[in-house]
Symmetry: C2
Subunit: 336 residues, 2 copies
Amino acid sequence: MPYHRIRPLLFSPVKFKILQKLKKEIVVSGEEIAKSVKISRSGVWKWIKALRKEGYVIKGSTKKGYFFAGSPDRLFPEEIYKPKMRRFGKNIYFFKKVSSTMDIAKELAQKKVPEGTIVIAEKQLSGRGRLGREWVSPPGGIYFSVILYPKIPLMDVPLINLMASTVVAESIKELYKLKPRTKWPNDVLIGEKKVCGILIELACEPDRIKWVVLGIGINANTDRRFINKIENSTSIKLELKKKISVVELFNSVLEKLNREYRQLNHGRFRKILSKWKNLSSTLKKRVKIITPEGEIKGTAIDVSTRGALLVKLKDNKIKEVYAGDCIHLKKVGRAY
Amino acid sequence: MPYHRIRPLLFSPVKFKILQKLKKEIVVSGEEIAKSVKISRSGVWKWIKALRKEGYVIKGSTKKGYFFAGSPDRLFPEEIYKPKMRRFGKNIYFFKKVSSTMDIAKELAQKKVPEGTIVIAEKQLSGRGRLGREWVSPPGGIYFSVILYPKIPLMDVPLINLMASTVVAESIKELYKLKPRTKWPNDVLIGEKKVCGILIELACEPDRIKWVVLGIGINANTDRRFINKIENSTSIKLELKKKISVVELFNSVLEKLNREYRQLNHGRFRKILSKWKNLSSTLKKRVKIITPEGEIKGTAIDVSTRGALLVKLKDNKIKEVYAGDCIHLKKVGRAY
């Protein structure tokens, strides 16, 4: 496995405490840091050097005292660590680059790591999308996978897709006042352009889910030159015409995921379904859906309580579509 | 992995040819075997010794000629090898004992071995049933797993359960004139006692099955002293009061699986569904089903085209049950 050669960065309690201290105080001496974190003063100096190398802007010196002048806005475990959250953000595997966060997360799931373990990468060398397709992962994007052990029936797995896209859309809406829309089954659009894709892989028996790996890719600060290469895509940076904080966006998504997943896992899916519907770009549209069983054309009128798309066909029959590639054709005048 | 220390027996073309020659001729000299199989005469002698050690009864000597007087009725790859079948029985991993055929088959599936690859064991040290339960695997039983890459929708996976139980029931019926019945979702009964259990594990995305491992355990020649330890069980030997040929039974099951799976994979599931219904012990019975979503009580009236059990509840509503533990309560007078 190639990634074994690329070591993940795991959460460092010392780094976390030093950063906390630096971010809290206006000026702090090396001695104060050493005392509060319980390491030697030369240890502090080594950490400051390492932090600067990672992109943290730390002004001053041991004698004059240090002050924090800026973070590199990178998704280091210490930036996204959430000790208070029940599930998500306690175990984090951060990679500067990696083959695919999905592959690593699946191996970790097999090994039964705790629920909510996150694999995050700044760059994926062979990122994957649905159906084994490539997911282009240029710098500036957020690419991560979360390991879940949901207690829901197998048939309800599509709800995880809807939950994840709702959460990402809500975060983008709240933080940037953009108008993101959810697309069935698992995208987030701005306008009709894709800003986020979601991928689910799972292992199961017909009546028991063993694990689910939820993968999320967000075009956050992705530059125009990369976006232009991907059909029908956009990035938040492109829409806003300015860079965003990936740490802020990631933390918002993670917090919402933590909350909504707990609801879903307790069988309370109505709220998330109604949120998805309110954000939906697919409903009330003419759609073409390519499924393993064939092509379906009709009007998307609703989603079922299991996350299936209800499509009204030519003959007015309603077809329940569980999965497939969905192509938006045109908006129809009214809901059915 | 412990089983790496236990090497599988793979198909040996030389052993296959020697056995074919021995089984076809009344008496055959070492020289004739050597010539036809294209090995040395001392090679023939070594093979004869090895075959005798495995339990083959081969009378005579190189000089007088050999004659075949009986096989050990063990599921060696050469006994079940099916060169003519499209899928099943071309790649066989045979273990005298193994942790669990499921575990090995799943590892092989990850490695994308050809469809229809079979893992078979005479004894499982930690055989598994549904929901991670133990599957007791005493000697005399048939325990195997088959690797499949079906092109059916995820929702149709329960049909594989119904197909497998139908196939086993049909083989038992044809070969031994017993009256096996299928039990929803994945058992075969004789009377109300279990003679076969089926297990499915899979890896997938919501709209693509990556692989399915189908596990089948049949109480074939299992002795009373073992059967008595398992609640509500029986074996074919116990029912017939005589030993059966496990090779004959296995080959019958495999041939039917090969045929029915091809049908299922082409979307032709009506025939297998109707066969399952005809053999069903569950339909027309009062049932209690324990599912991850709760307990359901009612009368089993039909199965859906996706293999879900249709249960008529107290209030006459029909509930579609996709998976769960099914307990037969009592027969009701009439079908609904």
